[in-house]
């Protein structure tokens, strides 16, 4: 299953619901384009909902890191929501769990963005 995404706005936060696989090729490229597009539109509060992401490889992890640093360097915030156990474990062994701001409740995540 390749990656799919849909975007919604809640209280000034752009929530991107991702599903499927974020791997080298289609998935990681799509994620890069999504984040690039949001930055171009001036959207600086981004919440990536990974609840339905079934698989991430090292390219996908790299793309998440790139998205995080690109948004942060542009003065914005990018947070992650609803990690599956698999993705959670991956971010732990790569020591990225403490780098990302990770949430498991959407309403609380939205509130946590700088007003």
């Amino acid at each position: 299953m390749t990656m799919k995404s849909s975007t919604r706005q809640v209280d000034g936060v752009t929530i991107v619901d991702l599903s499927g696989r974020i791997t080298l090729g289609e998935g990681s490229t799509m994620l890069r384009d999504i984040v690039r597009d949001m930055i171009a539109k001036g959207q600086k509060k981004i919440l990536l909902n990974l609840g339905d992401v079934t698989y991430i490889d090292s390219s996908g992890i790299g793309e998440l890191v790139s998205a995080f640093t690109t948004v942060r360097n542009g003065g914005g915030e990018l947070k992650l929501l609803n990690l599956t156990k698999k993705v959670h474990d991956l971010l732990q062994i790569t020591k990225l769990y403490t780098v990302f701001d990770i949430k498991d409740d959407e309403a609380a995540a939205i509130q946590s963005f700088t007003k």
Binding site: L24, D57, S58, G62, V65, T69, I93, T94, V99
Partner: protein, 148 residues
């Protein structure tokens, strides 16, 4: 269980990466490993295959990725090799070092080592061969080899 070594020569494409991931997953499942272990093997094989077709062969249509898998009485042994310029293990940066943590690349070999019991990297000059080993229990091989 009748075990044998099976060898495939594949094009340097992402389709080949998906194919070897699927084959490794099937072998791991048939070896009686639990779902978490199967997924770790899938991921390690995927990373090795991506390294082979992308970093090694650079998607060159004239270069092949060789994929071999074997179930012995003690282990599941998977080998992925490419025809690229070779990999110097000592030059691979530590992806957990603070200065590398936010780099977008460089986690593949680290993940392979995290998910497998043994990993051997051999410079073929030219090319790189990565051997991934997972220890398993159960019945074993009769040593036959089959090429495709």
């Amino acid at each position: 269980m009748t075990a044998k070594r099976v060898v495939f020569k594949l094009d340097s494409t992402l389709d080949s990466v998906n194919e070897v991931e699927r084959k490794a997953s099937e072998l791991a499942s048939q070896s009686g490993l639990d779902e978490d272990e199967v997924q770790r093997i899938e991921m390690a094989v995927r990373e090795a295959a991506v390294n082979a077709v992308y970093h090694g062969n650079a998607y060159d249509p004239t270069k092949k990725m060789t994929f071999a898998m074997e179930r012995t009485p003690e282990s599941l042994i998977i080998t992925v090799s490419d025809e690229g310029k070779g990999l110097n293990e000592s030059e691979i940066p530590d992806p957990l070092a603070p200065e590398n943590l936010l780099k977008p690349h460089g986690r593949g070999i680290f993940l392979i080592r995290s998910f497998m019991d043994e990993v051997r990297i051999r410079n073929l000059q030219p090319g790189t061969e990565v051997t991934l080993i997972k220890h398993v229990r159960g019945q074993g091989a009769d040593g036959k080899e089959e090429s495709k």
